[in-house]
């Protein structure tokens, strides 16, 4: 029993160190995909040199993220919306990475990103996609109607 514990105690740090090494060994090597896969940016010059952006765009975004979010100190040169506005074509489609600048490179380098789970993947000037969704105010009106007599229900509940 003690031997089991000692063995586990010895091997765990080694294992962790190995994992960290493995994870780090992949860092810093970013290969751009073939030019044919990368959509042209719409501006004529990026806010930082290309190789800096290629390596450090995430650090730049992360670095200023909290400032922007928590204090409202926004630097439009390093804004996420700015990146998307310039790099992503209004007709791009995230599902087809070859049309989408960010996705093309991330797919090519097999780097997972979840930015677009919340941020829109389309530039501000893109026409909104046709919505399969019901309009909210329609549903609000439906609701107001459905709950018109809700107050009687509430009386029952809140007066013992």
């Amino acid at each position: 029993m003690p031997s089991v514990l000692t063995r586990a105690g010895l091997s765990l740090p080694a294992l962790l160190a190995g994992l960290v090494f493995f994870a780090l060994s992949g860092c810093g090597k970013v290969e751009p995909p073939p030019a044919s896969l990368l959509a042209e940016a719409r501006g004529d010059q990026c806010v930082e040199p290309t190789d800096v952006m290629r390596r450090e765009h995430m650090q730049i975004l992360m670095h200023e993220r909290d400032e922007a979010k928590r204090y409202g100190r926004r630097n439009p040169d390093h804004s996420f919306v700015g990146c998307v506005d310039c790099h992503v074509s209004p007709t791009a489609n995230r599902e087809d990475p070859s049309t989408h600048f960010c996705m093309a490179c991330h797919e090519f380098n097999a780097v997972r990103m979840d930015c677009f789970q919340c941020h829109t993947d389309r530039p501000s000037d893109a026409a909104p996609a046709s919505h399969r969704n019901v309009d909210l105010h329609e549903s609000i009106e439906r609701h107001l109607a459905a709950h018109a007599d809700a107050s009687t229900n509430a009386v029952e509940v809140s007066i013992p």
């Binding site: 029993m1 979840d114 107001l144 509940v157 809140s158 013992p160």
Partner: protein, 413 residues
């Protein structure tokens, strides 16, 4: 020198054991499936919504967490209160406490909107949040009980067992206080804003933990064919009865204090009189089936002699505890927030009406998955480490009984 107990891991090759593992694995698989469904579809496939934000998974999780703290009863009785009779059971008790807690935590984590961000939860603490405190309390509990178990198993460390036992005992009290305070600190909701919720959760941990423990002891001893005397069982069932009565006392105190405050009459009437399913669960399941009936069974002079009856009573206590948590967690959310006293309110966002909540299959799957995971860990640990005493026949339990037949091969707990 007290009596030495011989601990032996279980063989783990019997068809019954393999079948048990198989069954538990199926439950775990169901839970994993539910988590994957939630992850890909989102929470709309569950019964939870913007009104009832915590649902069935949280009830399972809280039940497991509360029971985990209570499962440590046997160990505490032996190390803290010097009840030697419980000494042989201390290891199982510690092990069960750990696995139940892990099961509960797994459910909680898998029900997060972003379970992939668990690392964020571990690295960004808001020390004002009772929730963040609980993350510490839970991981700390696991560590403390692990050390406690190690001290019990490792002969050289045996003399430190009482210290570890005390630490674990105090830790579990704080842990259950923390769990109760998750609700107790919610000033906004009529059903929750009560300091008494914390001691009530402690009482619940004693009774629910004891109930689980009795069932587990019965199942493991009978399942592995090890002798189990009536002496220890009788003690445990008497304690269970006392704990159930204790919970009843707190429930009574909670509702009486609430009834005293006019502003809380609404929520009280909702739970006690006209809340539909919640009123039913409160009176019939929590009070009737889950408290009064088990009390009768446990203290009936004839019935309580039977192991079946004891097992049934323990099972009913668990059912009652489940109902109690359902009423607290879901009922408290279903009752509308009273934002404008003296006014009836209505809106498109379900203000002023009792929110609907229908538990869904994925939630149930996630819940049983967590339970399955807890017991899977438990069953596996029994196979690989010597947690289970070889015998709990009466003479092994009572230190003043004849000591012949005990061996000192393994270190005493």
């Amino acid at each position: 020198m007290t009596l030495k107990t011989h601990f032996r891991d279980i063989e783990g090759r019997s068809a019954r054991y393999v079948a048990l593992l198989g069954g538990l694995l199926v439950l775990v698989a169901l839970g994993v499936l539910a988590a994957l469904m939630k992850g890909s579809q989102g929470h709309y496939i569950t019964g939870m919504n913007n009104q009832v934000v915590w649902g069935l998974p949280h009830i399972f999780a809280i039940l497991l967490i509360v029971a985990a703290s209570g499962a440590l009863n046997a160990a505490s009785f032996s190390s803290v209160f010097g009840r030697v009779a419980y000494k042989p059971l201390a290891r199982v008790s510690g092990l069960l406490a750990m696995t139940l807690l892990i099961g509960g935590l797994v459910i909680l984590v898998l029900d997060l909107g972003r379970p992939d961000r668990l690392v964020v939860a571990m690295t960004h603490y808001n020390f004002k949040s009772i929730f963040a405190w609980n993350i510490f309390l839970y991981t700390g509990f696991l560590a403390v009980v692990a050390v406690y178990l190690w001290f019990m198993i490792e002969r050289r460390m045996n003399r430190y067992v009482p210290i570890a036992g005390y630490t674990a005992f105090i830790w579990r009290l704080i842990l259950t206080t923390g769990t109760g305070s998750i609700f107790g600190f919610l000033v906004a909701r009529e059903a929750y804003d009560a300091a008494i919720l914390a001691p009530m959760f402690i009482a619940m941990s004693f009774s629910l933990g004891m109930a689980v423990f009795i069932l587990v002891v019965l199942a493991t001893f009978l399942g592995t064919g090890r002798p189990l005397g009536d002496l220890i069982l009788r003690r445990m069932k008497n304690l269970l009865g006392i704990f159930v009565a204790g919970v009843l006392y707190f429930v009574l105190a909670y509702h009486l204090t609430n009834l005293y405050a006019t502003r809380l009459h609404g929520i009280e009437a909702f739970v006690l009189l006209n809340g539909g399913i919640y009123t039913f669960l409160f009176w019939v399941v929590q009070i009737g089936i889950g408290s009064v009936l088990p009390l009768v069974l446990l203290f009936h002079p004839v019935w309580s002699q039977s192991r079946r009856v004891i097992a049934a009573a323990a099972g009913l206590v668990l059912v009652g505890g489940f109902a109690q948590l359902y009423v607290i967690v879901i009922g408290g959310q279903a009752y509308p927030l009273e934002m404008f006293p003296g006014y009836d309110m209505s809106s498109s966002f379900f203000d002023g009406v009792v929110a609907s909540y229908v538990p869904s299959l994925p939630e149930l799957m996630l819940g049983v998955g967590g339970v399955g995971f807890a017991f899977l860990l438990f069953a596996l640990a029994l196979k690989f480490l010597p947690f289970l005493p070889a015998s709990l026949s009466d003479e092994h339990v009572d230190p003043h009984a004849d000591q012949s037949g005990t061996r000192t091969a393994a270190a005493g707990a």
